[in-house]
Each structure stands twice: as C-alpha cells, then as structure tokens.
C-alpha cells in the first residue's frame, strides 16, 4: 500500500504561475521527501524535510510539513516549461530509511 497520497492527480498551469501540490499520509513519519520524474525516467531528489521541521526552501521550491494534519505541500514559484514532470512525495516511517511513495501529481506547464 502507498503511504503518501498526492493531490491533485494532475495540474495544468501557464509559465510564470505558481504550482502547489499536496501530500497526505497516514502514520507517523521520520521524514518526508519530494521527488521529480520526467517522462517515466529516474527520480530526481528535490528536498527532504524532517518531522521536526515545518518549512524548507530550495531555490524556487518551498516545502511545508504539518505533522498534526499529516500533510505536506510543495510550492513551485514562477514555474517554467521545464518543470513539466510528475512529482512524488515519499515518507519514511519512524525507524525506517525506506521511503514509501504516493501515486504522484502530474504537472504540465504551458509555455
């Protein structure tokens, strides 16, 4: 079974707009990670946020984590056509380093 579930399943925006994706999970976690996947190829690690952190930034990416609501969000600001990809959240449970992936959000950024 998949721990994290991303929402929405698909998102279509214009270049320059912001994109927000959400992830919900069910059990306590050690950390939560966001990955990007282009056209069914390998996953690229974007950002890791630990259970005791609330917000992290990396370039145009902003990730928040609310452990009380068991949810996380990924914000991509000023999106570009090159951001078109599938985005996955992956959670590692307490005492585990094995990430469990959701089904992903498919993002399309129109030039």
């Amino acid at each position: 079974s998949q721990q994290g579930e991303e929402d929405p399943q698909a998102l279509s925006i214009q270049e320059g707009e912001n994109a927000t994706m959400n992830c919900s999970y069910k059990t306590s976690i050690n950390n939560l990670q966001w990955y990007r996947q282009n056209s069914g190829r390998g996953l690229v690690h974007l950002i890791l946020i630990r259970s005791n952190e609330r917000e992290k930034h990396s370039g145009r990416l902003r990730v928040t984590l609310d452990t009380s609501k068991k949810s996380s969000s990924l914000l991509i600001t000023a999106s570009r056509a090159a951001d078109t990809a599938s985005y996955f959240c992956a959670t590692a449970g307490k005492g585990s380093y094995i990430p469990t992936f959701g089904r992903g959000t498919s993002l399309i950024v129109h030039p």
């Binding site: 069914g40 190829r41 390998g42 690690h45 996955f88 990430p99 992936f101």
Partner: protein
C-alpha cells in the same frame, strides 16, 4: 562523479521467462534498493541490499530475488515472468549510515508479452 547506472534500458520478455537487471551505485554508496513502478503509479519498494545481504524486503513474491557484489553493484532477478511484471524497474543507492536521500538510476523498462 558517476551517478547510478542501470542496464539494460529496455527489455522485452515472454511470460514464464527469467530476467536479470543490473545496477551500479553512485560512487561512495554501499546500499542498493530496488523499486518497481507500474504505469501511472509511484515506485513500490522491492528490497534493499547492504554488505551483500538482503536487509529489508517489501511485499513481493519469492520470484523476485537479488544479489549484491563486493563492489556494491547489484542484480535484480525475476523468475517465471507474468504480464503484470511489466513495469519500470528503478535502482537507488545510498549510504546506510544516516543517509536518508536515495539517488535513483534511469531505470529499466521491462515489457512482458
């Protein structure tokens, strides 16, 4: 610094056959994990190898087996292939001691006819 590499990139097999997929980890990494990703789904954890032994295993049948070599490279073997084994197989490497981030290879796309 070479990243994670996988071979072959694509593979077509027939039901009942056996397949071996290969993975070389990122330089300096000692742990290899394998994932299966069906179309439209997220990656599913198959197993993880460290020091040439299977350290953790996901919910996959015994038809899925693996091996890790002294140079940390790894193989994934699948016996008695089923149509449902068609998927992208991803290898990820990491450092066991406190490394939480896994680095993924480009994957091997397997089609079972």
């Amino acid at each position: 610094d070479a990243g994670v590499t996988q071979s072959p990139t694509h593979l077509i097999k027939t039901r009942g056959q056996q397949v071996t997929l290969r993975c070389s980890p990122k330089s300096g990494h000692d742990t290899v994990s394998w994932y299966q990703q069906a179309l439209g789904q997220g990656p599913q954890f198959i197993f993880q190898y460290y020091e040439e032994e299977e350290r953790q295993r996901g919910n996959f049948p015994d038809r899925f087996s693996g091996h890790q070599f002294p140079n940390y490279s790894s193989e994934l073997n699948v016996n008695a292939l089923l149509l449902g084994d068609s998927a992208l197989y991803l290898c990820a490497s990491s450092l066991l001691t406190g490394e939480e981030t896994q680095y993924f290879g480009p994957g091997t796309r397997l089609l079972v006819l």
